[in-house]
Amino acid sequence: MNNLAVPGSLSTPSVAGDWQAGVLAMQGDSYPENAYELYNQIIDWIRRYLAQAQRPLALDLHLLYLNTSSIKGMLDICDLLEAAHRKGQPVKLTWYYHRDNDRIAELAEEFKEDCTFPFMIQASEE
């Protein structure tokens, strides 16, 4: 099984990596007790996918609050995608935010800053 599935909780986002579809989705708040453990799992999965699958990768993020270690983890993920993109591997990231909370959109912009791969910030109604 190459899929990644981490159930979400109050303080951790749910993470679902679908190897076949080439999609990694994260949803919820992220202030885990051990952010490194969680983000290392995700980073490992993305690394393996990028190295082995040779197919496009899409990240779908529905993240709300991120604590400082989660921000660090997410920037590391952006670095991975950026490196893959520069090597010519198709990657993209979509950060969804509820349209009532455009603060999230502003913060997603901060993550996007140094990225040259497709990074979309999209309002959702749900």
Binding site: K72, R103, E106, L107, E110
Partner: protein
Amino acid sequence: MSTEESDALKQLIDKLLTDPQYAGHPLRDALANVLEQERKQRARMDRITRISDGFQAMLRDQKETLKAAATHDPLTGIGNRALLSRRLTEESKRAQRTGTPYCLAILDTDNFKLVNDTWGHGAGDRVLVGIAQELTKAIREYDICGRWGGEEFLVIMPETGLDESKVIVSRIYQAIASLAIAVDTATIRITTSIGITEHKLGENYESTLQRADSALMQAKRTGRSRCVYHQA
């Protein structure tokens, strides 16, 4: 490392890197790399800090919004029952501590059901909003007003005796009486019945409220649109 120390180190490294006598030295490239890594780390740290501050600010704002929702009436924007109960408890304690009582007024909108039945609930809501606005304007800076429930409002007048309260209560009464709410073909005018009492040192606020409420009942029974003061 202090900023001065770090600047001095950076200057030293820059000098070493540009010194022609070290050109081609194997440590030179490594040092240049370390310097570049350090610059990147610093930039990354600044970025993480900036984003984290953004998330903290967002949380703080959300907390304020939740707090306002928990303590304020969404229709009129003034304090709700939870806020009033808390402030009554606090004021009762303060009165006990300072020996100076507060006054409590309970207002009921006369014939409010008639407004709703005649002009609809939208008009009724506008009347309540109008009353809340007049109340806010008429009270003093340190008085507290809020919606107790339905068409009932409370005004807490800290460190105020019954005689002293009369000028404020009559200001409130007049302000609401001169309120004119325009509906399509007419203007709604409303009056209020008000029961006022002074908190007795040592009693709980429920007893004070009960006394104010019985004064209000008396105002209603004796023809509405009036203020009844209940001696403590």
